[in-house]
């Protein structure tokens, strides 16, 4: 990993090496929860927090941890963080917790997090690791939200449905434009189509930029 400033590192996670679009890591939660924008946001933020904290902790302890035991320690750190996040969701956002269900505890198995601990945090300073975690986490979260928004709009012709789970009020629960949408977008195949479109879009933008530069 080349050195670079804070913003460069953010950009790497957000765009150049986006965990979902380029590394294609953590696809199971990505595909499973992105039925609405709010769900995507919830899991995205939880993942962002876990990956940033795990990067910081792994980086801070990297001098004391021997090679042989690094993986069990990553697992311990990540699992503890995820358990804490899960408890906090249950305490403060119970409705969102129910809507995301098993996918909050399953953040433990999101390989994007172990991958960043191993590839980046175990070899870089705490500051750089936090920047990397923020970038990767935000990249993942934004992708979840984009796919969630797309599937929600196409699949059930609404946007921000379930926002009451975040605000805790029933007064505003999103906009609905029609009774029915294109059902396939909500079903599992829709997740694959949406991800494929997102990857294709990113590649075409990259290619156009590359051409302009020459």
């Amino acid at each position: 990993m080349t050195s670079g400033g804070f913003f460069e590192r953010l950009q790497t996670g957000l765009w150049k090496d986006n965990p979902g679009l380029v590394q294609l890591l953590g696809l199971c939660p990505l595909l499973a929860v992105t039925t609405t924008l709010v769900n995507g946001f919830g899991l995205g933020v939880a993942t962002l927090v876990v990956i940033t904290c795990s990067n910081a902790l792994v980086s801070a302890t990297r001098r004391w941890i021997r090679q042989e035991i690094r993986i069990p320690i990553y697992v311990l750190i990540i699992a503890s963080l995820v358990t804490c996040i899960e408890l906090m969701f249950k305490a403060w956002f119970p409705a969102l917790d129910r809507s995301l269900g098993i996918f909050i505890p399953l953040i433990v198995t999101n390989c994007a997090i172990v991958a960043r601990a191993e590839i980046f945090a175990s070899r870089n300073s705490v500051g750089a690791s936090i920047a990397d975690g923020l970038g990767m986490g935000a990249g993942f979260a934004l992708l979840l939200m984009a796919i969630g928004a797309f599937r929600e709009l196409v699949g059930q012709a609404s946007i921000l449905s379930g926002i009451g789970m975040l605000t805790g009020s029933e007064a505003f629960n999103g906009f609905s434009f029609a009774d029915n949408g294109f059902l396939l977008a909500i079903l599992p195949p829709g997740a694959f189509f949406a991800l494929a479109l997102a990857v294709a879009l990113k590649n075409s933008i990259d290619r156009r930029r590359h051409r302009e530069r020459r």
Binding site: R66, I69, I73, L76, I77, S80, L81, K90, A91, P94
Partner: protein
């Protein structure tokens, strides 16, 4: 690896494990009360809709009766019954039962029945039916589930407790008949159970809260 190194490595692992456990334990302490309160509020709130229009006193969730299988209620897991009272007289009972013959997975259904056997309301607590088709059994997605309000054994007669495709009186859903059939069947069986066991239900002691 020498003996010294092994001990050191083991100690590192133990220290980190202890720190992580402390972190989780602290978070648990901090959030425990809120989580318990949330769960109780959620339970009371989820029981409300099935009791529409019934005047009652006290917390419904405290009068819980757990019926261990085997029983004649739908489902082969423990069924829950909440007794509802007004001025110490039983006015209604709420059943949380499971339909096992849905399209995919179990359907948890809440059925409210007045003391004289009329349905006050029914709601789907949990299901994994197909989005856009079978999930219209949810009150949030369509008003299908409201057709049970005010029904009882005798309205319609036992033969009418089926979906129209099967010669009954209840609407099905476009593109989904397995799901509605399962729900209608479960509600019918619940009513039959209530009619047969009503006095036992209200006479029984509340089950202890076990977690």
């Amino acid at each position: 690896m020498g003996e010294q190194t092994i001990i050191k490595t083991g100690a590192t692992l133990a220290v980190i494990a202890a720190i992580c456990t402390t972190l989780v334990a602290a978070t648990y302490q901090l959030t425990r009360d809120r989580i318990v309160a949330n769960e109780k509020a959620l339970l009371e709130q989820s029981l409300q809709p099935a009791l529409a229009g019934t005047a009652y006193e006290g917390n419904v969730s405290e009068s819980r009766l757990v019926i261990q299988p085997p029983h004649d209620l739908p489902g082969n897991d423990a069924a829950l019954i909440y007794r509802v009272y007004a001025q110490d007289k039983p006015v209604a009972a709420l059943f949380a039962v499971t339909a096992r013959d849905g399209f995919s997975g179990l359907i948890r259904i809440l059925v409210g029945v007045t003391f004289d056997g009329t349905i006050t309301g029914a709601r789907i607590l949990q299901h994994r039916e197909t989005p856009g088709l079978g999930d219209k059994i949810e009150s949030a997605k369509s008003d299908w589930i409201f057709q049970f309000d005010g029904r009882s054994m005798g309205n319609p007669e036992a033969t009418g407790w089926a979906i129209r495709n099967d010669g009954g009186e209840f609407d099905q859903l476009t593109g989904a008949s397995v799901t509605p059939r399962a729900v209608v069947g479960a509600i019918r069986d619940t009513l039959l159970y209530f009619d047969a066991h009503r006095d036992e239900i209200f006479a029984a002691e509340s089950s202890e809260d076990s977690k």
